[in-house]
Subunit: 342 residues, 4 copies
């Protein structure tokens, strides 16, 4: 059978990435597309790279007809998403790509996002969408919250280590190099080519990045005690990809063994041989995450490096992976395309 899919907010990068991926999915069909500011336009006008596809014209959300829609992806801005989703049919399966349902705690949400949540009951219902770790919950979920792309990268490096208790929980430093598409298609001076190209800078330094809310929630739950990491993202002149260099205290070989056994059989997470570490150029455009471990010269210190594509495994690919589970499809359907290199 062919599932009918709606995409809300199809005029942004994650929306376009969803269309790209679904076009390669044998059992899904894009049945409705919204993009409020571009309603009435074709996708070919908004994203000429999708010109060859036969796609519905963009509408407003209000004009969308959800009859017969099997699942909706919401690729709307933060805060807008919760308001829109609260009004959608209550039996519609939804994968939300915004930040609105990532945090389970009302107070934590308000702390990191600065406003009270508009749909706290949905916040409770939502399942955190890091597929490899919430697979069973996702299968039966109606509403899945896509993770932050930085948050996903860091968790692939760290979750098994925290769960297994093989690293010092008080001494975790995540240093990330992030490509620019993670910031979306918004018109900001620091995203201009002339500003960013030949540049590199840290942002949200010192513990102010909202994805810390996810790290705190997930790592503390895993550890059974509060865990606070240090996290410094950097913007680099590349379009896709996040490279997380994670400094931990623990035995490198034990760490490698732990990761390897945790990800054994996982279709999308590749643990590299001991001592090797990944590059973002090797996961571009794909749903794969590469993880490597290197021992430091200092005893009981290790560096874990994880790489994924922020638009694919970090958001739209993860969303499709979750949608597959929610619809009873094989988790990997439409997602096994190899990375594009060079």
């Amino acid at each position: 059978m062919t599932y009918k899919i709606a995409i809300l907010g199809a005029s942004g990068y994650t929306g376009a990435e969803l269309v790209r991926l679904i076009a390669n999915h044998p059992n899904m069909e894009v049945a409705a597309l919204s993009g409020n500011s571009k309603a009435g336009m074709t996708m070919a006008q908004v994203f000429p790279h999708l010109r060859h596809l036969d796609l519905p014209v963009l509408t407003t959300i209000d004009d969308m007809n959800f009859d017969g829609i099997d699942l909706a992806f919401c690729a709307l801005p933060h805060k807008t998403s919760q308001e829109v989703i609260a009004k959608l049919p209550t039996d519609l399966k939804i994968v939300d790509l915004s930040a609105d349902f990532r945090l389970r705690d009302v107070a934590a949400y308000e702390k990191w996002y600065g406003n009270p949540h508009a749909a706290p009951e949905l916040q409770k219902e939502a399942v955190y969408g890091l597929t490899e770790f919430y697979r069973d919950d996702i299968k039966s979920a109606r509403l899945v919250a896509g993770t932050g792309c930085n948050a996903a990268t860091g968790q692939y490096a760290l979750r098994p280590l925290i769960a297994a208790g093989v690293i010092d929980l008080d001494e975790i430093i995540l240093d990330l190099a992030c490509a620019v598409s993670g910031a979306g298609r918004s018109l900001k001076e620091n995203l201009l080519h002339a500003e960013l190209s030949e540049g590199a800078h840290a942002y949200a330094v010192g513990g102010t990045h909202r994805h810390l809310g996810e790290f705190d929630q997930e790592f503390s739950a895993l550890a059974g005690r509060p865990v606070e990491v240090q996290f410094t993202p950097h913007l680099i002149p590349a379009n896709r990809g996040i490279l997380a260099t994670v400094y931990v205290k623990g035995d490198a070989q034990v760490i490698h063994n732990t990761l390897q056994s945790s990800y054994l059989g996982e279709p999308f997470v590749e643990v590299l041989p001991m001592g090797e570490h990944p590059s973002i150029r090797h996961i571009r455009g794909s749903n794969f995450c590469h993880v490597g471990v290197v021992a430091d010269r200092r005893k009981d210190r290790a560096i874990v490096v994880a790489a994924l594509d922020n638009l694919t495994k970090g958001s739209s690919g993860q969303a499709l992976q979750n949608a597959n589970l929610m619809l009873g499809e094989d988790e990997t359907t439409g997602l096994m395309m190899a990375p594009v290199f060079p």
Copy 2:
């Protein structure tokens, strides 16, 4: 059924691109890989982005076993290719990605490549691999010669116009912006990031580029008289893509109509609405070619702009498209993935 595929010269960019594409093909399987200088290595070592695939180890060509192989792609360097192919089983279907069998004329080959051809009888047998224009010949061919990537781009812009006689044959100028992967993985100073990034320069200026041999052969055959174009390629700081800006004399509307009717129904060639023109960022990683026409302010002059991905539609995607035809598969199988943007 699943066809068994061999790739000779799998350690270069076009070889890796073939593996990427075939991994997405439901009826093909990579059964043998050669890479003389990297024999004994796994593809994951040579191309870590293919790490998730279950692939044969690289061997030397001599060690390759062609029993049961349905088709071989040769992604070897120019001149090496003709020597190798001459020794392959004579009933093996072959798609050659080198320049060795693009020119039908022995003298033309020697003029452009500087050496006598080592397999002139095969040179005669080979079918020129620009699929849309040699489709029937390719279906029944044993040996297909992949076109040059620049040559392909220019021909998509010009062939229908020359065939229809709607442009001045003596006043054709092709100005190309070419991404760097077209130069392959060879270690040359001008291909270093520090040299190329923030740079742009013309090369093979004045009519010395070897792809002119293809333009001369094909355009003259189409016109039934000698046609010599001017052709200036430029290297730009991008990894994939060729943008051909073609200056012609003729009526822009007639030109657009001619292109539109020629490519009607073609799965991979998209003619844009009159007055629009393409960008390489919208065909990246895909087998699509976008073509646009704009009228110049000067009467009876038009600009035709064509864009394709040199590694896909310009070489490995084209090769797979041809292989599909040679094996009786649907031409588009494994090739309909949407471009990767951004």
Copy 3:
């Protein structure tokens, strides 16, 4: 003596480039800076790369005091510039970097810019600022109009050839590769890193680019008859530089000789040996223009390639060169810094 300099519109790229250059000038001092939308801010806040300089705070133009100012650079947007300059002290020396005073003809201005000129008498007074060709007029001018950056590049390739009558005036094609800083610091979707990087596209195709007004004016004046060129600019993923590939009909050796003798003794225009051609990476950040000539394989056709940095020789460097002349300084003062490579 030290000249006191004012810069109006210092918060854009050409304004910042002027500050960079003047900081290296032994006899000039930045005495006043305006930036209406950033009034009250320091330059270090707007352009952190100028942090080490002791500069005046940005003011509004209305708050600027022109007493004691020897010369003002106007780096304001088109149309705003003419309105502002019309109200400046009538004895103030001015170098305007906008498009407002490039065209001498009132009707031509209105044709290309779509509005009647607000200061037609100043339009008549202004001297066209292509230093090498208007040197004497510039020395005695009060108001100099900086040329378009594309217009400058094309003219360095063509003016001597048109003046000498060594090329066919009806068959000139200018194909340009332009870096992104030429579009300024404005927030446009197609200037985002994620859109432009790994991209390349033509713009203003077909003869709609406003710099054609300059080409028409200057080339027709030189030839003593109307000359209309074809001109297609392309945006490439680089920050600085314009590469003009110019297709002309004429004898390549005569063309090279003509350029060489025309630019003999010019401090900033370098004619390369016959058959060589330039790259934008070799003029980055400098006031130099490199010009090369290559013969095409077709008789009596040649390719002239010119390269310059759009922000330096194409605008702010040219402006300073002109200011030097207007103030009686040596033309090269503060401008001999070598290009930055890599």
Copy 4:
């Protein structure tokens, strides 16, 4: 007076950068250039961006005449440099840009570089060239060893803090983003544009990078006890610049005060206001180093970020700064040019 300068190894990036800087120096003249593999060529052939300069032809080192030379810069490969310098006139002032004389200890040199030192007595004589901290020794030195570019960046962030005892010496992590020109003009696969662009990866992970030898030497000497830092460099797709993100334990305000008072009056080191941090795009092509401090959300943890241009402040600019001191010139002569942005 004009000092006569020789540059040995002028065909690499640091050699070219020296020529660029000296061209802007009022009291220095490039009198001799060597480049063994390019002997007989002009600099315009090797580095077309220097085409406008009147420079000596490249010779072999053996053919160089040191009569009348006031100072030589050695921009030779590691290991070659010590062999060449050992044979130079013993009264010649020398600034070496290689790694050969950075380590004072014979055993440390052998440990990090894998071979016994060929000129151990010179190793003892050499002064470490981090100008701001060895100024007096450099003034009277005959042989100055330029620091590693990564080593310089890290030291600007850390030396004052270690000297003042305001951070935990056992918990220092340096995470660096390094532009590609630091790897020189050598032909390596991972330096190709097609490999590096759109990529990012760590290298020398786990404490194997040779610049650690410098960190160990300098930080231990400052602290009066062994100090071992963790250091992970990353290669990013940019040409110039190093961004060091340094994780330390200590009070952020104290750290900021310490840096600010240490660099008070330094012409090239700019400490940003508390809470701000630098970008490599704001120091490109200049001799400036920007340093910022941000408090982490976790008590007594801070992030210090330092940025400099690896080819200028990180090597050739530093070298010229030292040469100025050695010749009795003002330290800043020829080095005050503003960064090139965008």
